[in-house]
Symmetry: C2
Subunit: 437 residues, 2 copies
């Protein structure tokens, strides 16, 4: 059985990298009061098809021996937003709003696999959802929390710095409406293709939509605005103003100022960002890895005026999703990030002879009782062989003898007396380290 | 959208219980040197159908818009053993044997849901797999590690004590063969039904198989052996002996003695245990929760002479699987185990007025820099309302003012001066506590 394309799996030392990344993400989210939830892997197919085009990428799930009248038509979720919106409606009576949650789970899409794009991929999402209302400062909050998480990943795992491109749907829609465009969503979807099909392609598609040449020019000039300081003046110079444009600019200026205050080098306003098909209604964000732009968007999100609704109550939300597999699967599979050993054990307990295994077990128990991960040699081969057993796994220490025995650092060859009831490895060895390969 | 039967989901305070349980399991496994891996959710359908009857419970996965000639016939894995066996073959050249791994993931079965039985359920598996050979002491090891994990769950989360029933396939098969039975597997499958259909049902099924009455008597006497001390004598009294019986008894005695040495009250030999359809070839284990036997088997495993094989190399294995959902989903959904709060935050930072949010953010940042989980009030309502906001979430403390401010313990009403660069909550409050409801 060869591996299935698009479903990445890692060796234990790769999984350690992934686990460390997830731990960093979780710990930042929890520092900011986000509670963890998990949702089931499947949703009813009709829930998954609400977003239109995406339906074609859904994996359907059905019991192999389901009868023709079986109505269990499920699909694997393709993101964590749709299941979260459903979860909020299911549990609204038991949640406290504004409700802030993080969710780290795999999602599945039947896409053509390529680097950074998988059929099974892990996402780490944070969202804040309100009951009928949600203050704008939460837009700022989710952005700052995610940038803090990215900064921690940069500091602790050495991923490249991120650049967050921000924009605002009110500004875009107000601007296009001000230009006399009746279907701003159609233009948004065309501009979304700008990086792929270029100015010529976009011009042609807009013309096919019946857009005048000078309007196309203004759309393209607007979409080319990319600024850390000056975007409001640049938008103003285009001479389109209305209430939506003004509100969009105000929100965007507020968000930009707050982010610059904390992460001056990691943010830019980019007027072409719209997050394509998603039904965002205010702030939108996209992150890329500086120097790794070819990997595409590694993190994205925005504000929904209605993340969910049951007809009576509306749940506005703002959230952002980090593409764990997109960032880490290539780094792990290319060994750009590796663990210093492939087992949790910091020490191997050597076994003198098969009938003295109990003695080695006793040493191991004494170490474990103080939280030291260890394993006992599976056999009583010559010491040289047992040391090689440890070495092949990257285990740095080997224990010889009884509770009052000796510890060898197999990297240096140093060996000294040690007491299993008190010996402790140096803190940098206690857990596998993540190293840049 | 109502919840889907058999796919349990929890509120954040329930998820905290589950997370704590998983953390306890992982930490025990890592103390014993088991490395974590994850496998993809899907396997080719032919991999999943090797075990025969189980096929009918598999969920098939297919792209919604797959063409008729699409050959991606996948299924969701129904346990973690089949994917692990495939993973070992896929990665054999990169693994060090004996390879010890733990794996904590959901699995899926299209079964009729009932208490403790779900269609999506979490398992926590440990296995040790060798290259062509694997010493018997690893059978003892996986049993002791799992019993240690159960003991930790009992101590820290108050789950009931466990009883492990052990047996040995060599003993069973040797015994049935010694009785002149040509298809011991058929008898094993009938005896497996003993708890459900009783002696009368089993007698009838064995008779239908063409088994003589006195042989049926011996089978039933054998299957009724349940002993902590005396099983070898009781088996011996039945007068059936051969090499397999002797080897089975020897292994079982060795395992029993080792377990009694550490967990004298948690183990019994039970000659009717065979683990039905699974292809175990030596030790078999089943665990139940004492006083909660109706929940069924919460943990099970055994020894395979061939967990996997590629024709040239054989990978014998021994492992045991803990049913996380079976144990914890009922405890969580009945609120027998609850978290002391529904958010990670130990303190809420009150906001005096909307234009002083930055001041509250500064307090929060000072606390977070020292690992203290907190959140800032979403609004600047009256203090009483902000305190109720904290109270409804179970957040025990509220911060008022600037970096040099005041902390109120809202449970006692005590309020005192505090410095955000040094204030630390009592350690018992730092993380949500898990409480027996």
């Amino acid at each position: 059985m060869a591996s299935i394309s698009g479903f990445p799996e890692f060796l234990p030392q790769g999984r350690m990298v992934e686990t460390r990344a997830l731990k960093i993400l979780s710990s930042v989210f929890e520092l900011h009061g986000f509670a963890n939830i998990q949702t089931r892997a499947v949703e009813p197919v009709e829930e998954l098809s609400r977003k239109g085009e995406i339906t074609k990428e859904v994996y359907a799930v059905r019991r192999i021996h389901a009868g023709a009248d079986d109505t269990d038509d499920f699909g694997l979720h393709f993101d964590l937003t749709v299941p979260f919106a459903r979860y909020v409606l299911d549990n609204a009576g038991h949640l406290n709003f504004p409700f802030r949650r993080y969710q780290i789970q795999p999602a599945w899409r039947g896409e053509r696999p390529q680097e950074g794009r998988y059929r099974e991929f892990w996402q780490a999402d944070i969202d804040i959802v309100g009951l009928n209302e949600l203050s704008f400062h939460h837009d700022i909050e989710v952005v700052l929390v995610m940038l803090e998480a990215c900064q921690r990943l940069e500091e602790e795992l050495g991923i490249p710095p991120v650049l967050m491109r921000i924009n605002n749907r009110k500004l875009i829609q107000g601007f296009y409406t001000g230009l006399g465009i009746t279907d701003p969503m159609a233009v948004i979807q065309i501009i979304d293709k700008l990086p792929k099909i270029g100015v010529r392609g976009v011009t042609q598609m807009l013309a096919e939509l019946g857009t005048d040449g000078d309007v196309i020019d203004k759309i393209l000039t607007f979409a080319s605005i990319e600024s850390r300081t000056d975007f409001a003046r640049e938008v103003g110079a285009l001479g389109i103003t209305n209430e939506m444009v003004e509100q969009g600019i105000l929100e965007l200026e507020t968000l930009l100022a707050a982010v610059i205050g904390r992460f001056p080098d990691n943010v830019v306003v980019d007027a072409k960002i719209a997050r394509g098909l998603d039904y965002y209604t205010g702030s939108v964000f996209e992150l890329e890895l500086v120097g790794n732009e070819s990997l595409g968007t590694i993190c994205a999100g925005g504000r929904y005026d209605s993340l969910a609704t049951d007809g009576k109550t509306t749940y506005p939300g703002v959230g952002i999703s980090f593409g764990v597999s997109r960032v880490f699967a290539p780094l792990i599979s290319k060994s750009k990030l590796v663990a210093s050993r492939c087992v949790p054990s910091v020490i191997l307990i050597a076994v003198d002879s098969d009938d003295q295994r109990a003695q080695a077990d006793e040493v191991a128990a004494a170490l474990r009782s103080r939280g030291i991960c260890c394993e006992v040699s599976p056999n009583s081969a010559k010491y040289g062989k047992q040391i090689r057993f440890a070495d092949r796994r990257g285990i740095p220490y080997v224990w010889f003898g009884t509770l009052q025995g000796q510890v060898k650092d197999i990297r240096t060859g140093d060996q000294e007396d040690a007491d299993a009831t008190s010996w402790t490895p140096p803190s940098e060895d206690a857990r596998p380290q993540i190293i840049q390969g």
